[in-house]
Symmetry: C2
Subunit: 242 residues, 2 copies
DNA sequence: GCAAAATCTGCGGGTTCCCGCAAGACAAGT
DNA sequence: ACTTGTCTTGCGGGAACCCGCAGATTTTGC
């Protein structure tokens, strides 16, 4: 058995190495990668079936790396080990995990024991281990309780990228008005209608920009989600040109 | 001599502790704080003159903590130790450093030796030590080479928060048209005018939202800057109400 | 002190956005 | 079949935005 560690912080990397050694004495080889790109390469080369992966790395982030790895070998077991439980990350991960795969999502703030337990559960027992906090977000996101539909989310990303209504309509094969309907739902859910001004004066927000702002503040979207979306957009545009 | 470490990651904290011990054998006491709020408290309590501070902490981030600490004791020497060199952070720090204070900005990716050298230079020699990469950004930011004025930056933040033109005008005591002029400069500098569409079709961006998007992608603004700005906004509003 | 440059301001227009109203499409449920 | 609900689309108008133009004000450089 071998384990691949993908993590860009050297300190965390060696801590993980230690933890893996301690939790999985049957592990013969521990590989390390400093970013997603290298991680992908090693995963391919060693056909690693067991991976511990950080999200938020510079070169190529964890979600992208995991996606391509899972695309090639869906039975790979991946434990995501992250600092944050941003809804953007959680959604990004749930989006790419293959049917029936064993994976995990543990926060870096979790205790030593939690991490080791998760390592054994996932890699040995093939069970899913999702941090409670993260689990909560997942539920909220999927269940309709104050959560956002996938379509809504898409549109949210689109306005965050700065696309116009017309562009969004084209991208999604919708009429202009439909897009605007979606936007209204979004504004509703993001609770963006409160006045900002005082007295009787009418001081509203710019709804479109405000929506992006509160989405960011609520960590519904974050830097890496934006980055990915921007890359997608460029791709898509390139395709059209050709 | 005593040193206060403010850093929310336990691993990094103990690494720092180690480094301080090694680099400053004359140091008698090393204090640790897990977030900005606690850090402020300890700084006040122990009148610490030497602080190593992470930016990006949950409870209260490094910039806010440093600002209040410096406000009380401007001669405090602070070494900022951060993962990132986002322009938003760099600008945030330059903004609050008192006249003639000795401080430093070192990236976590720097070598062990660099860190130790910086510790001695700042705490013993009272010199400023700024990472080269960071230094570059500072120049660019202050010098007029492709950099942003403070006023422009303010307005950028305002639209990122979702304020309307009229609101911005009021906040800055400007006419509506002036604000729009500023916005045009911004759009120019952020290079937001490229078409997104193909063929002869007119596919522009929504300039306002797009500007925010590219500012985020270029790390001109980041989560913590947004968060601070939002808090400011709420304060300001509260004041007006009263 | 004066000219050049940069900023601030009002006006007017074209465009995009925000959204109420209303009519059609499709699914599900009793 | 009738209702109920959700989703889509068109129309139209009011508001906000983007911006060229042109005059007023301030700043800067020499």
């Amino acid at each position: 058995m071998e384990v691949l560690i993908v993590e860009d912080d050297p300190l965390h990397r060696s801590y993980l190495h230690e933890a893996v050694r301690a939790a999985l004495p049957e592990c013969e080889l521990v590989l390390e990668a400093g970013n997603g790109r290298i991680g992908e390469g090693l995963a391919r080369q060693y056909r690693s079936a067991h991976i511990v992966m950080d999200l938020q790395m510079s070169e190529r982030n964890g979600i992208e790396a995991a996606r391509t790895i899972w695309k090639e070998r869906p039975e790979t077991r991946i434990l995501f080990w992250s600092n944050y439980a941003d809804e953007a990350y959680v959604r990004g991960v749930s989006r790419i995990v293959p049917e029936g795969a064993a994976y995990g999502y543990v926060l870096k703030s979790a205790s030593d024991d939690r991490l080791k337990l998760a390592l054994r559960s996932i890699f040995i027992e093939a069970q899913c281990v999702i941090d409670r906090e993260v689990r909560g977000l997942q539920q909220k996101s999927l269940g309709h309780v104050k959560g956002f539909t996938d379509v809504e989310y898409e549109i949210l990303i689109d306005i965050a990228l700065g696309l116009t209504d017309r562009m969004i309509a084209r991208r999604h094969n919708l009429s202009l008005r439909s897009v605007q309907n979606r936007l209204q739902q979004l504004y509703e859910k993001l609770d963006v209608y409160q006045r900002v001004g005082e007295d009787g004066d009418e001081g509203r927000y710019n709804l479109r920009s405000r929506a992006v702002a509160v989405a960011l503040l609520r960590k519904l979207i974050n830097y890496s989600a934006l980055e990915r979306a921007e890359a997608d957009l460029n791709n898509c545009m390139g395709m059209k040109e050709a």
